[in-house]
């Protein structure tokens, strides 16, 4: 067992969530270790994420909110956000890159890269599946007209929907347009 059933703050992890967290633990800890330079810290953050997700699910079942569609993805993305939070507080860790740097066009400095990463992570975590898929299609070079055809809407409506979602998330994480 890589992670404990109770997190560092003494919060219990639901057995279903614990099983899902165990499955992603090797990948998550490896990822976290690369960015935080500390596997124990990465494991702690995964446990905290699992405990938070357990609480969120319990709350959702109490309030009748929608179920979690992909528990592993949900825990992993909660974990990514915690990792980002820790890095944001530590300027040295914020300069660690997780992907081969400057392989995309228009090289940007490392802090900008971190900013982009946070924005992408938040967008993928917070937005609805349609927005996420629009984002994937835009990455592959689809025009708004082509995306609109897939979703049976107008190009303007598709673009506007995506832009609004992006603006909301930028605002939430403190980035100006």
């Amino acid at each position: 067992m890589l992670i404990n059933a109770v997190d560092r703050l003494g919060r219990r992890i639901d057995p279903v969530v614990l099983a899902a967290a165990e499955e992603i633990a090797p990948r998550a800890v490896q990822y976290g270790e690369k960015l935080l330079r500390d596997s124990a810290l990465a494991t702690n953050l995964l446990e905290e994420s699992a405990a938070t997700v357990s609480r969120a699910i319990a709350l959702k079942s109490n309030t009748g909110a929608a179920d979690v569609r992909n528990l592993q993805a949900y825990i992993f993305r909660a974990f990514l956000r915690r990792v980002n939070r820790v890095r944001r507080k530590d300027p040295i860790l914020a300069n660690v890159t997780e992907v081969t740097p400057s392989t995309y066009a228009n090289p940007v400095d490392v802090s900008e890269e971190f900013e982009l990463k946070v924005l992408v992570d938040e967008l993928l975590t917070r937005c609805e599946p349609v927005i996420r898929d629009m984002f994937y299609r835009r990455m592959q070079g689809f025009s708004w007209k082509e995306i609109a055809r897939v979703y049976g809407t107008s190009a303007h409506a598709a673009e506007s929907r995506f832009s609004q979602a992006l603006r909301r998330i930028r605002k939430k994480i403190g980035l100006k347009r």
Partner: protein, 259 residues
């Protein structure tokens, strides 16, 4: 960190693609959907499971596959070609306006060349088509080649009395070959041979028709010079028949078993 920096969409998309393609290796492919599910999601995202979209957020191999499916979708389905005009428009530096200008220039040049030729050679009277010279579909006459009297052998070596040659009419024939009793349905190879070479060969399927194992084949007889040939029937399991056939010269009326 530059909190107030403006991050344009293009940079976000480029980073996002690179990040999701590289940052989340999943060598054991834990929780990965099938290729078919990914392809379906690319084609009809609204029918796809939303959990799949979430999986792509932390699995680089699946994300790359999904990007490949989207790329295929954008270029048209695999195996399907874009219309020529779309391909030409996709060439770098082409635009509908430029293409239109090129087309007009080509048209003007063609008309000018035509006028020059007409002036030099004078107008040509169109030649009316000669009656009866247009090639039409070949009409195959039915003909039955009954081989029930022959004994199949296990090798293309025929000993003893040779059967009498059957004369084939000199016209395209749809030949129904009746095989000896006890023959099996299936694929046979038919061949027409002179003494030293095969002049025609074709496979054919034998079926039970009115209690007879029969196979059919079209043979354009006039393309072969007159003479005596061997008509051979052979199967993969060693069944072999040879029937001499005579092809007569033009104008000679044969005495075959014309239907």
């Amino acid at each position: 960190m530059k909190r107030n920096s403006q991050i344009d969409e293009e940079r976000l998309l480029k980073f996002g693609k690179h990040y999701l393609s590289e940052a989340f290796p999943n060598p054991d492919r834990i929780g990965c959907p099938s290729e078919d599910a990914l392809r379906l999601a690319a084609v009809e995202p609204q029918k796809a499971d939303a959990a799949l979209s979430e999986h792509l957020t932390f699995c680089s191999p699946c994300f790359r596959s999904y990007m490949d499916f989207l790329a295929e979708l954008r270029q048209g389905q695999p195996g399907q070609k874009q219309p020529l005009w779309k391909e030409i428009l996709a060439w770098p530096g082409t635009s509908p306006l430029r293409l239109g200008a090129v087309a007009v220039a080509a048209l003007v040049l063609s008309v000018a060349s035509y006028l020059v030729v007409i002036q030099r050679e004078g107008p040509k009277t169109p030649i009316a088509p000669q009656p009866g010279t247009e090639p039409g579909p070949i009409a195959f006459s039915p003909f039955t080649l009954d081989l029930r009297e022959l004994s199949p052998t296990r090798a293309p070596i025929v000993t003893g009395d040779q059967p009498r040659a059957v004369t084939l009419p000199r016209k395209p024939l749809l030949i129904s070959v009746i095989l000896p009793i006890g023959s099996e349905e299936g694929t046979y190879r038919l061949a027409l041979k002179t003494r030293d070479k095969t002049v025609w060969t074709e496979p054919s399927q034998a079926h039970l028709v009115e209690q007879k194992i029969t196979l059919q084949v079209k043979l354009d007889i006039p393309q072969f010079p007159p003479g005596t040939y061997a008509f051979e029937v052979e199967s993969a399991n060693g069944f072999f028949l040879r029937q001499p056939v005579a092809l007569q010269g033009p104008g000679v009326e044969p005495e075959g078993k014309k239907q």
